[in-house]
Symmetry: C2
Subunit: 284 residues, 2 copies
DNA sequence: CGCACTTTTGAACAGAATCAAGTTTTGTGG
DNA sequence: CCACAAAACTTGATTCTGTTCAAAAGTGCG
């Protein structure tokens, strides 16, 4: 349930130099970013060094996983320089033609669906190394909005090029299929969660999932800061924000968690996991 | 929400001759089926004629969508003769190595996850033309059980061969990606449903989804027989079977539906849809 | 420093789960 | 083909969980 999609051991967090933290509008993809790269020479040299897949610390986690020298170089030509996004920026919107997938280089994004009545429903949270936009391939257009929850960088992967290249590089093809498949499996986990768990269990599962994903990226598995509001968590977990808040308090009262606003400290990881094992609603 | 994955117009239902309705154990894939084909000559000739993708009425709905003569012939060589399954038979189980994907030729299957505590959760229902097993690609093994809810036939698609062939045939590659993507999009729809709808709305959405899928296959959009129990519906929708039963009664009392056990007659399709538009829990 | 947003907490309420019969359908063996 | 047992379904009463409404406290950003 809500399984960790990445079994890759701790790769160190990326220490990218951040060039343009503000006001990057979603406009025409990539272009602005490239222009800036030309304008700011000294910073760029370092940035460019690391900006390609081959120099990226994430290449065990992200799309290029399993590719070696030559193939990696091919992928490099395909993926544009990381595009900076400021907090609140929209990467893409539902209904827009799907041209590219996006890999999160740094930062934290959400994808959400706007109901007809104006309410939004969060479909997922995305962190470093995760690929966004795959749900829109079938329709040829994006089905959800993607918004940065903190200043972030994303790598644009033109989908037509990705398909072409994955015909030439079996390892890339195979890994791309695994990525899509894992998203399906992950969603099944969320469906299970939404269909069978109580509020407290849902929140526990959510935190454990975050914990695992942070661990896979070399961060602490017990201490991290939430990047989303209680309302966004609730929307994702099918709960109201008040219920999320109460669930936090309950987990804290049980001594499993220390919550200081968005700062989470998991005090009893196995206790949290045990909470979900009790999911036996039916006696023998 | 719970969008129809198929926008293909009505292809006629398949009228396959059914050879072995009983006791086909999941054992070693394909072999038994082929042996039988040799044993029963007169029936087989017809069966074999239609058994390949090129002769299959589903080729606009299933994996071969968009392929023409030569490419279709290539796919034919890849896909084995349809394997018969009796009601209750298991096609594959969670944990087993993923060797093949399966396309439903005729019949109706469910996929479900067995909780650690013994309770099962239905992850999806699958009808003619739909491809099963894609959630297991990422892990290299199946993550759910697949069980026939009525006598069915499935076409086995060896996954390694599919990857190889889709490197050679861009149209096949592209379509396979669309199939996976649509499963992601569909799951997002279910997540939305589970997270934001009340029991009655969930059932309405479920029935509308079934209706659309039957329509796409050339069947009536308003009259059909459910192949699953109330408990299985409930498991899929995150409800208890009693709640499903009550929701059926409520929809019937409102004049939207006529329910006679498993026989469903949608009396007011637009009324059902309208029910879900009222999903405004928040006033402006 | 103040205003807006987020979060917490409480009380009343609503919807679904649970428990409990009772009925209908289905499938099987005689 | 019928009878009977098992499974599936319906309906009611009660309980419990989460929502809604409301208010107050905390946080952070301009």
């Amino acid at each position: 349930m809500l399984s960790t999609d990445e079994s890759i051991p701790g790769t160190a967090p990326v220490g990218l130099i951040y060039v343009n933290p503000h006001a990057q509008t979603p406009g025409s993809p990539g272009a602005v970013c490239l222009d800036m790269a030309v304008a700011l020479a000294p910073v760029i040299s370092i940035r460019e060094l690391r900006s390609h897949c081959s120099g990226c610390n994430l290449h065990e986690l992200c799309l290029p996983a399993g590719l070696d020298g030559t193939d990696l170089a091919e992928l490099d030509r395909l993926v544009a320089l990381p595009r900076p996004l400021a907090r609140g920026d929209t990467l893409f919107r539902a209904g827009f033609e799907l041209v590219s997938l996006y890999a999160v280089r740094t930062g934290f994004l959400k994808s959400s669906v706007l109901h007809d009545d104006g309410r939004e429903q969060v479909a997922g949270f995305h962190m470093t190394g995760e690929v966004m936009g795959m749900d829109g391939i079938g329709a040829g257009k994006h089905l959800c909005d993607a918004v940065a929850l903190e200043d972030s960088e994303v790598c644009e992967i033109p989908f037509a090029d990705l398909e072409r290249l994955s015909r030439e590089i079996p390892a890339l093809q195979s890994h791309f299929h695994r990525l899509m498949s894992r998203e399906i499996a992950h969603d099944h986990g969320v469906m299970l969660l939404l269909g069978s768990m109580r509020a407290e269990e849902r929140l526990a599962a959510f935190l454990l999932n975050l914990s695992q994903r942070y661990t896979a990226r070399g961060y602490s598995s017990t201490q991290f800061n939430l990047r989303m509001t209680r309302e966004e968590i609730g929307s994702y977990l099918g709960l109201k924000l008040e219920t999320v808040s109460r669930a936090f308090s309950q987990l804290q009262d049980k001594g499993l968690l220390a919550v200081r606003n968005k700062a989470i400290d998991i005090l009893d990881l196995s206790g949290l996991k045990a909470l979900m094992g009790q999911n036996c609603h039916t006696p023998p």
